[in-house]
Each structure stands twice: as structure tokens, then as C-alpha cells.
Amino acid sequence: MSYPYLPKKELGEVPLAGEGATFRSLTEAVARVTENPAPRGWWIAFLSAASFLGVMTIAIGYLFWTGIGVWGNNAPVYWAWDITNFVWWIGIGHAGTLISAVLFLFRQKWRTSINRFAEAMTIFAVICALVFPGIHVGRTWYAYYMLPLPSEMQMWPNFKSPLIWDVFAVSTYATVSTLFWYVGLIPDLATLRDRARNPLRKKIYGALALGWRGANRHWQNYERAYLILAALSTPLVLSVHSVVSFDFATSVLPGWHATIFPPYFVAGAVFSGFAMVMTLMLITRAVYGMRSIVTMKHLELMNKIMLVTGSLVGYAYGMEFFIAWYGGNDYELFCFKNRAFGPYAWAYWTMISCNVISPQLFWFKKLRTSIPVMFVVSITINIGMWFERFVIIVTSLHRDFLPSSWGYFRPTLVDIFTYCGTLGLFFTAFLLFLRWVPMIAIAEVKGVLPESDPHYHPEEAHADHHHAEPVAAEAEE
């Protein structure tokens, strides 16, 4: 008899969790991180992240007090770092749902080791993203105009505008990702509850676990809910960055007005999201000793996805140029020539080398399975993807239709502090997650161990089982 969960050695398959992992060892490895006191490294990282968060608070406070003029945005570059950062963060926030939903529907069982992690990262990245449209509107206290709320002016939003689609897409995405994440957490929170010795801890995790008792009648609905959420999130995740790209694509600005934008943005989002998951996971896995749960196989598969999406993004860059020439529109061609050889050429070529060239290293198995290489490449990709958004936004705007209004955008200190501050917000939230929430989906990883197979019998248990059958039959009478 073949066990569906056992790796097929003839096909070169390796176990999804490291050799010798058992149910108990998994529970221990993941739960003890939240139970033991935080290591000193955690405190150092947390305090530095929290101080960056403080910098963000001050930068935003100053912005509110003084006005948008404290940023480098000015005619003709009305959108700059604010929207760059927004799109960058939202893009990073795509990997989590992709891993948890799309790979779930494709029955890619290796996702179980990394999905919790990636989903948490998604939520925090979306929170960071939401900061920017919230503060860049100038008079932030009027941000509620974005919502269809009855107001004294008796006006409603213009639903034909992609900007309002964006409000709905991003807020739906934030809500659904959070729900998805929480549903996934329920069984693991119950594990923490059942291990808790401190009464307060037991109460808190007990309340969060909602009284979960692992009943199969519950698992049945739970698994169906998970499947439905995955099926809902798959088109959702593709829609979110498509809608973000509509903000640009539906305008008439050369460099933005392109039908290739939705798939191009989605590929870029997945690309940057996987890179961010990789960066964080390499550190966490080493610090917390998760090497038997997140194995080299997982890392290699993720690198392959980065190679694919990186090449897709490279194709899109090439195609934009081709269409600019082939389309015969002078303004479009000028815009792209200006991108590659104009004042922002440095940003453009940074983007190309980080996004298109660096992931090509992953064609080689030796480099794809080297931790230092993948660490450096993952950080390079994140830098490159930030530059991609910067290039798209700023180079298309800074030389508009009227040469007399051409300009050159330079960020101010407040721009820089705000951006670095959101990194602080992200890492603060992420470190709190590592400290208090099971960072690996314990129940899901247990479900892919060979032991979990209903037909799994180690040899001695197998013999015993058949021997005992007649006794059992008697007992039923």
C-alpha cells in the first residue's frame, strides 16, 4: 500500500518536515517560542523597530501640523514617495494570501510551513500601506470622504473612479486577510491554551481560541470554511493589485496608460512579497531553530517562484518599451526614453539590475540552495521593487506635457522618516507576532506528516492490528 503523504523516494521527493519530526516535536518547537522568555536579540530588534515607529509617529504628526508641503511632492510630481510606498507595501502584502489561498487550491502542501508567517506579514504590510493614502490626502480629517457615508454636503463618491475602487479593494483585502489568518489560527491558539500554565495566559488564549476542542464535526465545517476563504481570496488577491494598477492605467498619462499594468503589477506584487517572506524567514528560521519545519526544500521552491515572477516582471519592462515604440505615440516613446536615459536613469537601472538580473541567479541549483545568496537576492529584490514603483510614478510625472513645468523630485527628510518609520511599524508588529502567536501553522503541518495518514502503520503496529481484529468484533455484539 502506498501512503499518499509519504515522499516518493524514486521521484526524488523529500519529506515536507525534517526527518524525525513528530506531532509532539512540532507542538514543542512552535509553541515554546511563545512560552519562553524572549531572547535578548528579540528585545534589541523590538526596541529598534519601536523607535523607528516613534520616528514615523513624529514625522506624521509634523505632517498633520504643517501640511503636505513638508514632503518633496510639488508640481508636476504630485504623487511621489507616498504612493510609491503605498504600492510597495501593498505588493509585499500579496505573498501571504498567494501562499495561503492560491497554493492551497493547487494542493501545494509545502505551503503549510510558511503560510502563517506569510499571512501575518501580509496583514502588517497592508496596515503600513494603508497609512499612506490616509495621510497623503492633505487634510486627513476629511479622509472619510473616501467612504460612501451620508454627509452634510449630500454628495456621494464617484464610483467611476479607480481611486474609489481602490478604497474598496484594499479595505476588503485587509479584512478578508485578517479573517483568513484568524480562522487559521484558531486550532493553534487552542494548542497554546491547553499548554498554558499561567491562568491569565490560559484565559487570554482560551478566549481567542473560542472554545475550540478539535472535534471532527467542527473540523468538517472548518475545513470547508478554509476552502471557501481560499477560493474567495484567490480572485481577491489578483483583483487588489489590478485595481491598484487601474489608478495608473485608466489615466491618460504616458507611462501609466497601459493595458499590461494589471498582470504586470500582480506579478511584481507576488515577486516582492515572496522576497520579503524570504528575508524574514531566513532570519527567523535561524534564530528560532525552525530548520526542521522550514526546510531547504521550501526555500528552494520559493526561489523558483521568485525566478518565475522576476522574469515575468522583466518581460513586462521589455514589453512596455516595445509598445512605446510599436504604438507610434511620440509622448509614450519620449516617456520611456526619458525613463531609461533621462535624469532618473539611475533609478531605472537600479530597478533593472535588482529585479531582472539578480533573480536570474536562481537558474542554478547551487545558488538557489545557498542561504547567503538567497538572503542577499531577496533584499535586492525588495529594493528593486521599491524602485519599480518610484520609476513608474515619478518618471512619468516629472516631465509632463508642458516642458516649462518640468521638474526633478527630491525627497525631504520627512519623506525619508515616514518611509523608514513604516518599516518600524511593520517590524514592531511582526516581532510582536513572533513573540505571542504560533508562527507556524502547527495543526496544518501535523496534517502533512506521514503519521497523520489514516493508513499509516509502522511495521509492528501493523501486525498487532490484524491479530487484534477478532477481539474487537466480539466486543461489538
Binding site: F23, R24, T27, Q154, W156, N158, F159, K160, S161, I164, F168, A169, T172, V176, L179, F180, Y182, P187, A190, T191, R193, D194, R195, A207, L210, G211, R213, G214, A215, N216, R217, H218, W219, Q220, N221, Y222, R224, I228, L229, L232, P235, L236, S239, V243, A443, E444, K446, G447, S452, D453, P454, H455, A461, H465, A468, V471, A472, E474, A475, E476
Partner: protein
Amino acid sequence: MASSKKKKPFAYLAEFDTTPAVIHAAEKLRDAGYSKFDAHTPFPIHGMDAAMGLSDSKLGLLVFPVAMAGTATAFTMMWWMNGIDYPLVIGGKPPFSLPSMVPIMFELTVLFSAFATVFGMLHLNRLPRHHHPVFNSERFAAATDDKFFISVEADDPKFDLEKTKKVLEGAHCTHLEIVYDDDGQTETIPLGQAEA
């Protein structure tokens, strides 16, 4: 032990060490005609629904109408706000323009369905629930770690202190106890010769 005889037990709680053992036990209970029993496992076991004789989850039936309500809400909102109450002519498009409404109709469909899925799942599972008698067992904490349990409720028409015990012993449980509802008590039942 003598005093607990008068109290009505809530359920038998049998413990198992392996996935195959618990699934065989569920099959035995199903074949013996039990209906009010449940398996408690650290992860969902493939094939357990069939072993327990459960029908398919009803969650989809609950989510679909709510999904349609989401689509309808989005459509009605935009049609009334932009088409009737405050018509805006932008880019020469008609005030009520269906193609531009598609993204928000999609988003609200997904949003409504996600809430229906999560709250529908909790409703079908009768969660959150503050307490449940199986938690009275001290051993039950392992149900979220590495042990497998089967609870057979005393409300089951087939439930009988002696006969049910025999079925569970016959299924090679490694530990067997009775849990009571109100006073947080459990009583361990010594296992017969079928003990592994």
C-alpha cells in the same frame, strides 16, 4: 466511585495514540449505530467524515445567498448614489455606468462572503463556547497536541455504560474515562484485557 453512580454522565472519553486507531474506532461506533459521538484530533484527519458517517458540510449553502446579497448591495448602492441621488457626469460617461461598477460589486461580494464563511462556520460549530464538559478531563489537553480522543455522549440512544465501554475497549483505546457535565469531575475506567 459509588457516589458518582447517581450522577448522569455526559460522555465516555476514549483516548487513542495513532491516526489509524482513532479512525477505526470511529468506524466501529458508526457501524454499531451510534450517532452522538465525535472525534477530537489535533488536525483534521483525511477520511474521518466517512468513518463517522457524516454528511457534507452545509456551509456553502449559507455563504452563497450572502454572496449574492453582497453583489446586490454594491449594485444598488452605486446605482442609487451615482445614478439617482447625485448624478455625476465624468469623462462623458453616463451617471449610471455598469462596467465601472464591476470592481466594487466584486469586492463587496467577496467581503460579504468572507464574513458569512467565518461566522457561518462558527455558527454551525456552535462556537465560541465558554466551556464544554470534555474539558473537565485533564488528559484532554493533549487533543490539541499529539493524542486522539473519541467522545460518546450519554444522550446517544445507543449509549449504555457497559456496552459502549466494550465497543471502545474493543477499538483499543489506550485510556478510558467518563466525564460529567456540571461538577468538573471525571472518572477513569480501568481497561479490560483489550488494553494495548
